[in-house]
C-alpha cells in the first residue's frame, strides 16, 4: 500500500478544492436556474431608476402543470398560470360575462350556441387563432379523462367550426352554465398534442412563457402583441415559498411584490408596515361540515339541526377568523352566482338538546369527524372548537385528522360520519357545487331528496339566469333547512402587496389577471 502522508499543504488543497467545487456549483445553478427569489435584496434606489417592469409573486401553492385540460386544471395554481398565458372566450365580471376571444354570441335555439371569434388574434408563436383552435381546446377538455372539470361538460353534444371565426356548440340539453364553463376553457393552438408542449406552452394570453420548472417557478414575459393591448409588466415571476413566515418576510424585504393567503394573526403586523398594503376581498372558498346522512344518527334531520344549533358560529368566526372570515348565509359563498341570503342557525344549546331528545338521543351519542391535515386555514382550531361545543350537548366526537391523500380516499368512499373541509366554487357558478355535490346520484354525503334533484336539474338546464337564481333560492333553502351540513363561514382572500404595485385586483378564485398591473416608478 502506498504511503499517503497527510500534510498541511494537502489540507489547504482540499479546502481550496471544495471552495472551487462550490463556486462552480453556484455558477452553474445561477445560469440554468434563475427562478428563485432574486439575488439582490431590496435596493430601492436602483428599482426606482430601472424601467423594467418586473413583478414577483409568491403564494403558498406550487404550479405543477400548465396543462389546462389535465388533472391539474382544478388547482387554483394551474388556473392562475393559465389565466396569464392563455385566453378564454368570455370572462366573468361580477355575476355577468364579458366578451374576450368571443366578440359576441347568441343562443340560436335552446341547444345551440353560436360564438363569433375575434379576428386578428395570434398565438405567441405568431400563428392566428381561429375557431378550429377553440374547437380543439373544447374537445380536449370534454374528452379529458383526468380533469376534474370534465363533468362540467356532461351535456355537451358537439362543436363545429363553421368557418374561421364562427363556432357552434351543440348541447344535449339546455346548458345554463355555458358561459361560466367557457370562462374556464383556456384556448391552446389546435396542434398542441405532442407531449412536451406544456413544458413551454404557447397561448394567446397577455404573457408568454419564458421558463417553467414544475413545482418550483414560472417566469413569464409580457406579450407585446396581445390583442387587447400589451401589458405594462415586462416580466412576471411566480415562485413557490411554502413557509408562511418566509413568504411574509420576502414581502417585507421586497424580494417579492405580491402574495396572498395571509393568516389572520399576521394581518395586523403587515398593516403597520408602511410600504405594504392589505387588500381584502370575498372569495369562492368556504368551510362546510357535512353529515353522512346515510348513517345513524345523521339520517335524522332533527339530529343534524341539533348539531348546528349547538354551535355558536358567530363567535367562532369572530374569535378564530376575525377579518378573514364571514358567517355564511347560504350553502355557497355570497359572491357565487346562485347564492341566497338566509338567517343562520341561532346558537341555542337548549333547543339542540330538545331536538336530540325528540330524535331519541336524550343523552347524546358518540360519533367522529374527519378532516385533512392542512385542509384549510386554522382547520384544527375550528374542528376543536366545534367538538367542544358539541360535547356540551352530550355529543362526543372522535377527531380524525388525516393526510390529504387518505382523506380523499375516505371522502369519496363515503367512509366517515362527519367531514370538515374547505371547498371552492371554482367556476363562480352555483351549479359547480350545488349541482355536482347535492344531487342524489352523486351520493357525496348520503343525502337524497327527489325534490332537490328536480330543482338542481331544472337550474342546470335553464339558460335564463334570473330563472336559475329563483331555482337556486329554493335549492339553498332545502339544503339549509334540512341541514345537509353545517355551513359556518366563508373565507375572505387577504392579499398583501407592496405599495409600488398598481392595478392589482385580487380575484375571488385566486386567479387575478396581471395584465392590468404595473410597477410605479
Amino acid at each position: 500500500m502506498q504511503k499517503w502522508r497527510f500534510t498541511v499543504n494537502k489540507f489547504k488543497l482540499i479546502v481550496l478544492g471544495s471552495f472551487l467545487i462550490l463556486f462552480a456549483g453556484c455558477a452553474g445553478i445561477s445560469e440554468e436556474y434563475s427562478g428563485g427569489v432574486s439575488s439582490e435584496p431590496t435596493d430601492k434606489s436602483t428599482a426606482a431608476k430601472s424601467d423594467d417592469q418586473t413583478l414577483k409573486v409568491a403564494f403558498d401553492q406550487s404550479i405543477n402543470s400548465l396543462d389546462p385540460y389535465g388533472a391539474h386544471n382544478g388547482e387554483p395554481s394551474t388556473v392562475l398560470a393559465s389565466r396569464q398565458i392563455y385566453d378564454t372566450l368570455v370572462i366573468k365580471d361580477g355575476t355577468d360575462y364579458k366578451p374576450r376571444l368571443a366578440e359576441e354570441w347568441k343562443e340560436k335555439d335552446a341547444n345551440t350556441w353560436v360564438f363569433k371569434i375575434r379576428k386578428g388574434v395570434t398565438f405567441h408563436d405568431g400563428s392566428p387563432l381561429t375557431a378550429e383552435d377553440v374547437k380543439y381546446s373544447l374537445e380536449q377538455q370534454v374528452n379529458s379523462e383526468d380533469s376534474p372539470l370534465t363533468v362540467l361538460w356532461n351535456d355537451f353534444e358537439a362543436v363545429e367550426a363553421t368557418n374561421d371565426h364562427t363556432l357552434t356548440i351543440k348541447t344535449k340539453k339546455p346548458m345554463g352554465t355555458m358561459l361560466s364553463n367557457l370562462s374556464l376553457l383556456f384556448i391552446t393552438p389546435a396542434d398542441s398534442k405532442n407531449d412536451d408542449f406544456y413544458e413551454k406552452p404557447v397561448g394567446s394570453g397577455p404573457f408568454k412563457v419564458e421558463s417553467f420548472v414544475p413545482g418550483e417557478s414560472l417566469i413569464l414575459t409580457g406579450n407585446e402583441d396581445f390583442w387587447d393591448g400589451a401589458p405594462d409588466l415586462t416580466k412576471l415571476e411566480f415562485v413557490n415559498i411554502p413557509e408562511t413566515a418566509a413568504r411574509l418576510t420576502a414581502l417585507q424585504t421586497g424580494e417579492i411584490d405580491v402574495t396572498w393567503t395571509i393568516p389572520a394573526d399576521q394581518i395586523a403586523e403587515l398593516e403597520q408596515a408602511e410600504d405594504i398594503e392589505i387588500i381584502k376581498t370575498p372569495s369562492y372558498l368556504y368551510y362546510f361540515n357535512w353529515f353522512n346522512s346515510s348513517r345513524e344518527p345523521f339520517d335524522d334531520p332533527l339530529v343534524r339541526r341539533a348539531m348546528w344549533h349547538a354551535i355558536d358560529t358567530k363567535t367562532i368566526v369572530k374569535d378564530l377568523f376575525g377579518e378573514t372570515g364571514e358567517v355564511m348565509s347560504s350553502p355557497i359563498p355570497k359572491e357565487v352566482f346562485g347564492s341566497s341570503d338566509m338567517e343562520t342557525y341561532a346558537y341555542d344549546p337548549e333547543l339542540a338538546k330538545e331536538l336530540l331528545a325528540e330524535a331519541g338521543y336524550p343523552d347524546g351519542f358518540s360519533t367522529s369527524m374527519m378532516w385533512s391535515n392542512g385542509g384549510g386555514p386554522q382547520i384544527l382550531q375550528l374542528a376543536e372548537t366545534m367538538m367542544s361545543y358539541w360535547s356540551e350537548i352530550g355529543v362526543q366526537v372522535e377527531p380524525i385528522q388525516i393526510e390529504r391523500a387518505e382523506w380523499i380516499e375516505k371522502l369519496v368512499a363515503l367512509d366517515w360520519d362527519m367531514d370538515l373541509q374547505t371547498n371552492s366554487v371554482i367556476t363562480g357558478d352555483g351549479d359547480y357545487t350545488l349541482g355536482r355535490l347535492y344531487i342524489s346520484d352523486a351520493n357525496r354525503n348520503g343525502y337524497k331528496n327527489e325534490e332537490l334533484d328536480k330543482l338542481l336539474i331544472a337550474a342546470k338546464e335553464t339558460t335564463d339566469q334570473a330563472e336559475r337564481q329563483k331555482l337556486y333560492n329554493r335549492v339553498n333553502q332545502i339544503i339549509w333547512d334540512e341541514a345537509v351540513g353545517i355551513f359556518p363561514l366563508e373565507l375572505k382572500q387577504i392579499a398583501a402587496i407592496r405599495t409600488h404595485v398598481e392595478g392589482f385586483k385580487p380575484s375571488p378564485s385566486d386567479d387575478p389577471e396581471f395584465r392590468y398591473v404595473s410597477v410605479k416608478k
Partner: protein, 309 residues
Amino acid sequence: MAGYLIRRILYSLFVIWGAVTIIFFVIRVVPGDPATVMLGTSATEEQILELQKELGLNDPLLVQYVNYLKDAVNLDFGESFKLGGSALDHVFYRFPFTITLAVTAIIISITVSLPLGILAAKKSNGIIDWMISTTSLLGQSLPTFWVGIMLIIIFARFLGLFPSGGSGSIAHLILPATTLCLPFIGMIIRLIRNGLLDELSRGYVQTARSKGLKENSILYIHVLRNVLIPVITVMGLLLGEFIGSAIIIEVVFSWPGIGRLLVDSILNRDYAIVQASVVLLATVYVFLNLVVDILYGYIDPRIQVEESR
C-alpha cells in the same frame, strides 16, 4: 484490498436494494394512492378504479415490485404523474442544489469549528471552553425549523443582510447552510478539542517541547494534522447526513433541492419521484461511507483494512 472493495460494493448494492424495497412497500401501504390524489375530491369511485387500472396500480403488489425492479436496473424510474416527465430528470435537476447546500454547510462547519476547537483546547476548562460547550448544547437542542425561521426574521427581515429564501447566488446559501450545520458544529468543536488535548499529552509532544520548539509550532505543525484525521472522517459522514437532513431546511428556505421535492411527492403519492429520490439519496450515502472507509486506510496507514480470508 481488491477483495475488500468488491465485498464493500456488493454490500452497498444490497443496502440500496433494501432502501428501494422498503420505500416501495411503505409508500404503497399508507392509505391514498396517485389515482385518488390526481382526481381529487370531485372523483367518483368508478373514475378512481379506472385510473388505478390505467396506472397499473391494480396489479398484485409483487408484480408491480418485480416490474419496478426490472425498470430500475435499467435506470428507468418511471414518470412523475404530478409534475410530468421522467422522475429521474426531476430528481437530477434538484440534486445539485442539495449537494451545494450540503457542501456549503461542511465548509461553514470547518471554518467555524477549527479555530474554536483550537481555542478551547488551548484554554481547556476555562471560561471559553465552558461557553463553547453551552452554545453547542444549545445548537443541538433547538429544533431546526425554528432556528431557520428565526434566522430569516433576524438576518433577512430586520438586518436585511441575506435574502429570506430562494436560490440564485451565494448569499442565498448562507442562512440555510448555517441552519443545517448548527446542530453539528458543537460536536465538531469538541472532537477537535478532545483530539488536541489527547495528542498534546503524547510522548512526541514532550520530545518536541524538550527540543525547545515553540508551543504554537508544536500545535500547528505536529499535533493538528494528527487530529484532522478523525475530523475529515466525520466530515465525510456529515456530508451524507446533511444531504439527508436538508428536507426541513429546504422547505423553510424554499430551496429547490431534492428534500422539498421528496416531501411534496410523498404528500402527492408521486411514487416514481419518491422512489427515484430515495435510490439516489441511498446511493450517495452509501458511496460516501465507502469513500470515507477507504480514505481512512490511506490517511492513517496504521489502520489496515481487513483482508478477506
